[in-house]
Symmetry: C2
Subunit: 448 residues, 2 copies
């Protein structure tokens, strides 16, 4: 049994029932006659209060137990309805499994998040990183469940690929130890599973990837990682409207269920955000998603250009993070989908609209983060794709297999990519993406 | 609605009910008065029979429909209890979404599996690869579900790591486009998430990874990939017995549910194996897992050494694929766990047994494939780990963080790794691992 299950059953608990737990010590206080130890087993941030009395305390072991020690214990529930916590466990058997050396860097006193970032193998023992990890796990499983319940098939896009993605210079190269080409040609770490995913959407209609993705961008921001997880659904017979609706429904379902699965963790994270996190998520879950045309968004941004660093807002400009955040933080005061971007700032495979200028694409922007999701309809016209590749000076030959999909019973597809760590940021309210993944990888730094 | 759902409801179907489907054509036969088109939508290998009559046939479109064309159709169910298939859909609306160029390489006539391997973006349109993909998806979700229902937390181990795994020379290097170190030091593609996973098991008790893994082995066998997916659970407070039991129960549950989820696909795959696949899986599901000591396995192999290429079977020898297959195919006639391997052929982190010679490790061998799972208790003794690193000439400094886990409230962990594509092979009965993953990566070859 886990401590989480015990707390879930707290209304039904009976005094004198036997339980056993394993976990790690959060605190050890008391005296020679009675000790109170709080225990955590990672199933929740809630701790179980252990009470130790009499003979067991004389046993020197109890003195050596400190923050971080691992224990096995057995005992009986004691209901304490008038106390702050409604029950405690009176210990009858205790085994110390592992003690803690004095230089254990996790201590009772507050430790800075920057310091914790230096010890990714230990920061998971803090309440904050426990909460983040549990929420991350819940989001992951809710996303898998959502797709499986909506007739999607998981698709394993290749990680190592001979396609260098959407442009040059932002991909990582893979070689063997001698720096030779292990694959007899240039090989890259994938920046997207979408192109390969489209081929599977042509047989299974609805597919999704959930996999690590790589960017060699030299970005040292709080929103970029060199290695991150991405969810990329691709749907045949879907248009842009249906795709935006799917993205919206996926997010709302995953967030709604996660706040239900981990109430203690979400309340704790909320308390770190001046209790603004839960109302924000609640509002998103219960409000229709706003959708705005890129051209209309531009007009609004124009009116407020004084507050931006980048003030040159012409049709064709790529929105900077400051613009994206303004649109979600200030205009929508919540998530907002911007649609119909100029084709010149979007990828070659996006479906060109009839106006000849824009593509049937959307970015979903959320407060504090900016772009969380990007997606589009895919160009189904073979000739238009070939022309676009020429215009962009992208070699056609390596992508011939992708173009050929259009010649073989092509059902137009649409899809999008969710940056999973950005979603974790949005749901937990944390401000740095390096805290949303266990061992973050950023340019010039790779710990462990 | 999907065709799979329609077939699941076949007992309740009522004539004249309206339905609409989207999918791809499998066959188009008939004449000027009546046409029979079979349609597949990827939700199952079962096809829906469409009937087209009258005016609609005169419309030239119907002649152009061929294997692979994508369609949208609406129509009414017609029950045909005396026919081979108990219902058909009489089409009232038909839209051809995409037609097929003449050089479409998937044709009615049988195509060799080797040829299909050359076109990984199109082979998913065949019945065989549809069945494999659906089974693979089912196994993936069943595994996630199993862990989530058993109080495991998904853990994202880093893919790019500064640890080169268990030995040298079998890892892939990651650089930027200029072949410089993007991370300012040597960086590798992970060969295991276990070491990092252990640090999370020290806070969450039970964690699992489900992620791509990489080997630069120059192996050109039917059982090796350079990029494959691995599932690695790691459990604190677990011993070897509990770990083997977990591996066994995980496999049995995932296989049992998959045969339930995809009966048509499993029966089709069974038919390709002379109807030996389902009885084999059924036997595994319903039989207690056999466990044998490495030393005892060696004695049995000794007795049959005449049939092996490698006849030198002394204590300390690493079992070759032929030995592993003999133990599962002939001795156990099913899966078998070999335990207590000599420490010299196993990784440094495995828990040394009291005999000083062996480690508390297990390999789970299955018929036809050999090793499907490898696992162990982890060494909890700091000094023993340090000595072992010295003996094996592995540098201690990069692993200091891993050693330190033993000093900070360490609860001994155990875990294992499941090669996901090998599991797909075992459950589908296919004989080459390159058919168990959409875009296989092997030395010297990287398609798309």
């Amino acid at each position: 049994m886990t401590i989480k299950q015990l707390f879930l059953e707290k209304e039904q608990l009976k005094s004198m029932t036997d339980y056993q737990f394993e976990g790690w010590v959060v605190s050890n206080r008391g005296n020679d006659k009675i000790r109170f130890i709080t225990l955590n087993d990672g199933s929740t941030i809630d701790n179980l209060q252990l009470v130790i009395k009499g003979e067991m305390i004389k046993n020197k072991l109890v003195d050596e137990i400190s923050l971080g020690s691992s224990l096995k214990i057995k005992g009986k529930i004691n209901l304490t309805p008038s106390a702050q916590q409604p029950f405690e466990l009176v210990v009858e058997f205790l085994e110390v499994i592992g003690n803690v050396d004095e230089d254990f860097p996790i201590q009772k006193k507050e430790t800075s998040i920057e310091f914790l970032r230096e010890i990714p193998h230990l920061r998971n023992r803090t309440k904050l990183f426990k909460a983040i990890t549990l929420v991350r796990n819940s989001l992951l499983f809710e996303i898998h469940k959502y797709f499986q319940e909506h007739e999607f098939i998981n698709f394993a896009a290749p990680i190592i690929t001979s396609n260098d993605g959407e442009g040059a210079g932002e991909t990582l190269l893979v070689n063997d130890e001698t720096k030779n080409y292990f694959f007899k040609q240039k090989a890259f770490l994938g920046v997207t599973g979408q192109l390969h995913g489209e081929s599977y959407a042509q047989a299974f209609k609805r597919i999704y990837t959930f996999a690590p993705t790589f960017r060699a961008e030299n970005s040292h921001t709080s929103r970029h990682l060199a290695e991150f997880w991405m969810i990329e659904p691709e749907m045949a017979f879907f248009n842009l409207d249906q795709t935006i609706h799917l993205a919206d429904d996926l997010l709302k379902t995953a967030i709604r269920n996660t706040t239900k699965n981990y109430p203690a963790e979400m309340q704790f994270l909320d308390s770190l955000q001046d209790n603004k996190l839960l109302p924000t998520l609640d509002k998103f879950i219960n409000t229709k998603l706003q959708v705005i045309d890129y051209a209309d968004a531009l007009k609004i941004l124009e009116k407020h250009k004084d507050i931006f660093e980048e003030k040159d807002l012409y049709f064709g400009v790529d929105l900077a993070s400051e613009h994206e955040k303004f649109l979600s933080n200030e205009v929508a005061k919540g998530p907002i989908a911007v649609i119909n971007y100029p084709k010149d700032i979007k990828a070659f495979y996006m479906k060109q609209n009839a106006d000849g200028k824009t593509v049937a694409a959307f970015d979903l922007l959320v407060p504090g983060i900016g772009e969380l999701i990007g997606g589009s309809e895919r160009e189904n016209n073979y000739s238009k794709l070939v022309s676009r590749l020429k215009e962009l000076n992208i070699s056609q030959e390596p992508l011939q297999w992708y173009l050929d999909l259009r010649r073989f019973g092509y059902a137009p597809t649409s899809g999008f990519g969710v940056g999973f760590e950005r979603l974790v940021m949005y749901v937990t309210g944390i401000s740095n993406i390096r805290d949303a993944i266990p061992f973050p990888r950023v340019p010039g730094q790779i710990k462990m």
